[in-house]
């Protein structure tokens, strides 16, 4: 446990080396917010509210949603597919295998450290920008506690999914294919652009069984108070179930991947 805390700290420290990239990314998330909010403002066309499967959604709710979505993205974004792909291509993965560590945990701590760095230097500025320009709906206190739990679970879920997709590189080397496909699926089904409450009823029901909306749509809809306490509990339970399932899947694929590596020699 101590080891992973130390990795977390060092990762935070090493992120400082990429100041320029950080600034560029902050600028691009600001643009992202500008674009998304303009679209929503245009779609609402002066209406204060729109009907949805989660009741009436005000324009302020929607603007808050867009800003929070950008923030969640900053928290979870880990480039794991690219990172694992490089390790496998260059054979650096061998160096990881001769250390007494679990690579998945190691890289989780590492991306945690980077995420914390982004919270301080990107997320807070972006949030402040959003709050000043558009105003953010403050959450009710009990919602906020659920939101925090949901958000953390969402981070873990996203990590598990991206790590599993990254492992595909053991079999299929063209990792930018994997990466685009994964991001496409995330964009469509996670609710990062369009909240599930605007999806047609049947589609919304189907998609909400998948793990993707548990990363964006789940936590943000809780923040906005669009769920009853029972629904919130179901949401968290689903997150835990998916985490358990994906963790098992990750272990299984990891075992297969290592087996392939040690037989074929990378």
């Amino acid at each position: 446990m101590r080891l992973y805390w130390e990795i977390f700290k060092r990762s935070f420290q090493s992120a400082a080396a990429y100041r320029l990239e950080m600034i560029a990314q902050t600028v691009s998330s600001l643009f992202g917010i500008l674009i998304q909010t303009s679209i929503w403002l245009a779609l609402y066309r002066g209406n204060a509210e729109h009907a949805s499967t989660a009741g009436q959604i005000s324009i302020r709710d929607m603007l808050t949603y867009a800003i929070l979505s950008s923030c969640v993205f900053l928290l979870i974004n880990n480039q794991m597919i690219w990172k694992l792909g490089e390790k496998i291509k260059t054979g650096e993965i061998a160096m990881d295998l001769i250390k007494p560590i679990h690579l998945a945990r190691y890289l989780f701590s590492e991306s945690g450290g980077l995420a914390l760095f982004r919270v301080v230097f990107q997320l807070l500025p972006v949030l402040a920008f959003g709050a000043v320009i558009y105003g953010i709906v403050p959450p009710a206190a009990p919602d906020f506690v659920f939101f925090a739990v949901c958000l953390l679970n969402g981070i873990v879920l996203y990590y598990l999914m991206s790590f599993i997709c990254g492992l595909i590189a053991f079999w299929y080397m063209v990792n930018w294919h994997t990466n685009s496909l994964f991001h496409l699926v995330m964009t469509l089904f996670s609710g990062s652009l369009v909240p599930l409450w605007f999806f047609p009823g049947a589609l919304s029901k189907t998609v909400s069984l998948l793990p993707f909306p548990l990363v964006f749509y789940g936590p943000i809809s809780v923040y906005l108070g669009k769920r009853t306490i029972e629904e919130e509990m179901v949401l968290v339970a689903m997150q835990f179930a998916w985490i358990a399932l994906l963790a098992l899947l990750l272990r299984w694929i990891w075992g297969k991947a290592v087996k392939k590596l040690v037989i074929q020699g990378g």
Binding site: E6, I7, A17, I98
Partner: protein
């Protein structure tokens, strides 16, 4: 009692054959053909605790493949390996705590943070007691001079500095066995010397068993008493370095420069056909059974005025070529050579 036991170790790789000519890329894609390559074939050896063994052979001989099997990141196709009673690929994690590994072309240091921070991370990774950690850092600083750059991020280090840091990182947890795959490749003479001194010292004080692959003959001279020679996957020689050199490095070359050209017939009476002349320079091949370098130089001193003398020892690749031709002579005579 051997700490490393390797028995009829074989690793067979599957490789795709690339065609050439018309539509080759299409054919390769549609009808891939494979061949099997034995990177390591029926290799046997045992290594005792505290030995330093040089593992040598030309490029592609199978050295790295053998090392990878010993550290547990490659499974043998057949045969067995036991390292301190463990089968490495079955007990990769447990084995990893007892070994230190340096691959010359790779680093295990964290790229963006100071070297010392990686060392501290190693401390947690291998659960190294604080006393041992401090003691090791002190020793490493003394021999390798790492204090010059421990606070510099790894990406700013020179190759020599990085290699020194990597060696330290591999040894912080006092491993029982140290695997070094081409540790001195690309280093300048001064750093090479330090690295060798360090390996020697660690081996002496801690009885660390060291296995190193190298291309550099002087690594072997300075470090190893025993060498294993591998070529095309097969073990060609296992034994004394001295014996190997005496028997297979047949002709060291002495180059003598004199103030005036030596008469050719005089040279011929002394050296028969074992010399070539290049104006005032004269290259003599010393055949150990018949002659010695000292006698040769003494003869030149008696017969002329010397300006310069150079002695070139057979390098290890030449030794291996000689070794190879001894074993494969029948094939060589009929084949293309």
């Amino acid at each position: 009692m051997s700490i490393i036991r390797v028995q009829s170790l074989t690793k067979r790789f599957k490789r795709q054959i690339r065609r050439s000519g018309k539509m080759s890329a299409f054919k390769d894609f549609a009808f891939p053909r494979h061949e099997w390559k034995d990177a390591v074939k029926e290799v046997d050896f045992q290594i005792d605790k505290g030995e330093i063994v040089g593992y040598i052979g030309p490029n592609g001989a199978g050295k790295s493949t053998t090392i990878k099997m010993m550290v547990g990141i490659l499974v043998p196709t057949s045969g067995s390996i036991e390292i301190g009673g463990l089968v490495p690929y079955k007990n990769r994690l447990e084995n990893s705590r007892k070994i230190g590994v340096v691959f010359g072309q790779r680093t295990q240091l964290w790229w963006d943070i100071p070297v010392m921070e990686t060392f501290r991370l190693m401390q947690y990774m291998y659960k190294i007691p604080q006393r041992q950690f401090e003691e090791n850092i002190r020793i490493f600083t003394e021999i390798l001079g790492i204090d010059e750059f421990v606070n510099v991020p790894v990406r700013q280090l020179s190759l020599g500095q990085r290699m020194r840091a990597d060696l330290c990182a591999a040894l912080l947890h006092n491993p029982e066995i140290l695997y070094l795959d081409e540790p001195t490749i690309g280093l300048d003479v001064d750093v090479k010397e330090r690295v060798r001194g360090f390996i020697k010292e660690v081996n002496r004080t801690r009885e660390t068993t060291v296995i190193l692959t190298t291309h550099d003959t002087s690594d072997l001279d300075k470090l190893c008493s025993r060498v294993l020679v591998i070529d095309q996957g097969s073990l060609m020689y296992d034994g004394d370095l001295e014996y190997l050199k005496r028997h297979y490095s047949r002709h060291d070359v002495v180059t003598v420069e004199t103030d005036s050209e030596m008469p050719e017939n005089l040279l011929r009476t002394r050296f028969q056909d074992d010399f070539t002349q290049e104006g005032r320079k004269c290259h003599v091949r010393i055949v150990p059974e018949k002659d010695s370098t000292a006698d040769c130089i003494a003869w030149f001193i008696r017969n002329g005025r010397l300006l310069d003398v150079q002695i070139r020892q057979t390098d290890i690749d030449e030794v291996i070529r000689n070794l190879y031709s001894t074993f494969k002579r029948p094939e060589k005579e009929t084949g293309s050579g």
